[in-house]
Symmetry: C2
């Protein structure tokens, strides 16, 4: 007899009347004496398996298994009678009548968490401390299915627009963008740093390839204790040359975001449904000058703003206002003051106290930061000096601009925050597989 | 008049008889007195622009521009008479008769390297020191076009096979796989390390998602000075659960490699042609036991091998032998001795002195390492002890195996080496955008 090839749980409804082989984990086991029911989980979903006493070896093994045993089941796929159908499950129209059941791998102790619960209701530390277990939960799994979809959709949208995928170095020789945010590393006989953004290398990429994007690790040494910061995350970066102005950059990012929204809406419905979540409405993203946003916050919410930036409460409020007024879950805040933007930000031609830069907010949180960059060598040198820094320290960076670098701009987009806000997760750490924060370096 | 939208150089043959706007760099400029010819380069290719004296402003600007000026050209797309066609160029059937030419950005000094040369013929250090310039060269550009295609094809092939894309942490708390290969980092008030592989996290991923893949940075602190090592590279990792044995892992990797080869063969022809390179023949990849390879080397090449591993010369020789004998550019060397494989390697059932592991060689160089892993908690604990290590130090890792981890295996594939060997590059560093080695941390 030829050996059966394993199929996935999700494929069982296409095999009614056939004998199939399945592999997966015991999600739930119910012992009804003569009958034993097992809800079997694999990467594609869950299906009900019934073990009848007329297959004594299978029945014996089924008596023995418990939650999270990895098993192999061979059995007949049967249509469930109408009243027994489980409309909640994709495989609810069938059940597997086991003819054999083998234990592949068994837990060394009873799992401390029942991951078959639709809601885990754990505090964040417990959720993360038992990560390899809690990742098996359907709702948690959905986070990472959507996350993978986001990575795929971002890359596809960038490629469609002529961006070349690049990988830039994460070990850098100088902490040029502001030393406090950098982790120090021992690099053979000298000191080096972990890149806190691919900014400089993206700009070098523009000089050659015009348009580049990168999906890469970003390291931030900021000692934050918030629900929206981690010290290591995956950045979705892009940079584009030959732009007219920073509106071009926003337009491109807007197009990419809408394409991501469409892909998630099309292919992520099951995962979204587990959170009662919906994709953002597809409407034009409003652009509001930061100074105007400050005025709106004062007028609408009586919020006083210190200086010319808005804090995280302000970001939430302006998002709420924009959702109410324009029906958009996104908003571009534009023209940030020069004083609070990096030195390479392009000053606004009409008023150089402001920059041609933007933040993109999504449901109350900044997910991207971007803008046009200064592309002229001498202007950069002057700007670096004006900021009290030494152009000599930026030699490698300045070299990028020696040979006809076109006007350009780009963005850095945080991947995990998008998923956090899409699903309404309490903390960004739920959207990171194994998050790193000031206290957490494990598992 | 509505403003013209910029089109790409590669699109010009579709616009014969129309006025178009182009942006790009001056690759070559030839001044014939009354006529000036400019070869204009953008991200899509090159096209010939001719500036006639009857557009005095354009002619004046054309007199001024030099190599690597970024310019904007508006002009009429004209079919070139048959004898003037340039069959070497995709746009060789047309030329642009400029009606206007504007300088967008000009070099602050003459470029020290003429990147319009088909062959740069630079030594490696010069090539890398002037990276933002040398990346503009067609042949160099081709490396990174193919590299991007490789990343895309790998991800697509993995997704098609049910692998979930994950991002795992690069900052880790312990240098568990062997301290010497790890870079140390200062993580707030403690010491941490840069991950030298996503191995442990991939295995945790298997416990939940069965099949995971990652495209991520790998950090290796080895002080190598070779043409095939860098200290930071991009790994193409994958791990899969519910395998029968390590043959399943090789079969999956083989399928993915052949799919990548097909994609590159289909979409990378122009870039391959610049190197006179061909994709590897699509034939079954031979599997040869390492011990048999050692015998073959002795018999065929009189090569004496120390111990039970083969060195880089041996890898070249066995690849040559396999190419000659089986017509394959790839080879799986299998059953590496337990003593030279990591502790988590699955011992061979028949002879535990050997492991169910493999290396994948491509044109004389190891590009991947993989195999089946031990999946049972107690076996791992015993193995760690037997190797004289402390299971307590592996607590987080061991936790992965507590709750029914299925038999699994996977691989780590080096992305840059594939491109190096595909194009026959002298050093892997040519295939890295901004390579990092013991001496080089810039640009």
């Amino acid at each position: 007899m030829e050996e059966l090839k394993r199929i996935l749980v999700s494929e069982t409804p296409e095999h009614i009347g056939e004998t199939v082989k399945l592999c997966g984990w015991v999600s739930i086991r119910r012992d009804h004496g003569k009958l034993i029911f097992i809800e079997l989980r694999d990467r594609s979903g869950k299906v009900q398996v019934v073990i009848l006493p007329d297959h004594p070896e299978a029945a014996l093994a089924a008596k023995e298994v418990r939650s999270e045993y990895a098993i192999e089941v061979t059995g007949l796929v049967k249509a469930r009678p109408g009243k027994a159908e489980n409309a909640e499950q994709a495989t609810g129209s069938v059940e597997i009548e086991a003819t054999s059941l083998q234990i592949i791998s068994q837990p060394i102790e009873e799992p401390p968490i029942d991951v078959s619960n639709p809601e885990l209701s754990l505090n964040l530390d417990t959720l993360l401390n038992h990560r390899t277990l809690t990742l098996r939960n359907d709702k948690v799994h959905s986070i990472f299915s959507l996350y993978a979809l986001l990575l795929e959709a971002y890359a596809a949208a960038c490629r469609k627009r002529g961006f070349l995928e690049v990988k830039t170095p994460k070990i850098v020789s100088a902490a040029t963008e502001g030393g406090a945010n950098f982790f120090k590393i021992q690099y053979f006989d000298r000191e080096a740093f972990l890149a806190q953004s691919p900014q400089f290398y993206k700009q070098a990429g523009v000089s050659a390839f015009e348009r580049v994007f990168e999906i890469g690790t970003v390291f931030r040494a900021e000692p934050h204790f918030t629900t929206r910061h981690v010290n290591e995350y995956t950045g979705l970066d892009a940079e584009m040359g030959f732009i007219g102005n920073f509106e071009d950059v926003m337009a491109e990012l807007e197009g990419i975001m809408m394409e991501i929204v469409a892909v998630i809406g099309e292919r992520g419905q099951t995962d979204l449904a587990r959170y009662g979540a919906a994709t953002p409405p597809v409407v034009a993203i409003p652009r509001i000058r930061l100074a105007d946003a400050v005025e709106i916050l004062k007028r609408e919410y009586g919020k006083e703003t210190e200086g010319e930036d808005i804090d995280s409460e302000g970001e939430r409020m302006i998002s709420e206002y924009v959702a109410k007024t324009y029906g958009s879950d996104f908003i571009f805040l534009t023209h940030y003051p020069t004083a609070i933007r990096p030195f390479y930000s392009m000053p606004n031609a009409d008023d150089p106290k402001y920059t041609d830069t933007f933040d993109l907010l999504f449901r109350g949180i900044e997910i991207a930061s971007g803008g046009q960059r200064i592309h002229e060598y001498q202007v950069l040198v002057d700007t670096i000096k004006k900021r009290g820094m030494d152009p000599e320290a930026f030699k490698d960076y300045l070299d990028i601009f020696k040979y006809g670098t076109p006007p350009h701009g780009g963005w850095g987009l945080g991947s995990e925050r998008i998923i956090q806000k899409l699903l309404g997760l309490g903390s960004i750490k739920e959207a990171v597989l194994f998050p790193r924060d000031v206290k957490r370096l494990t598992p």
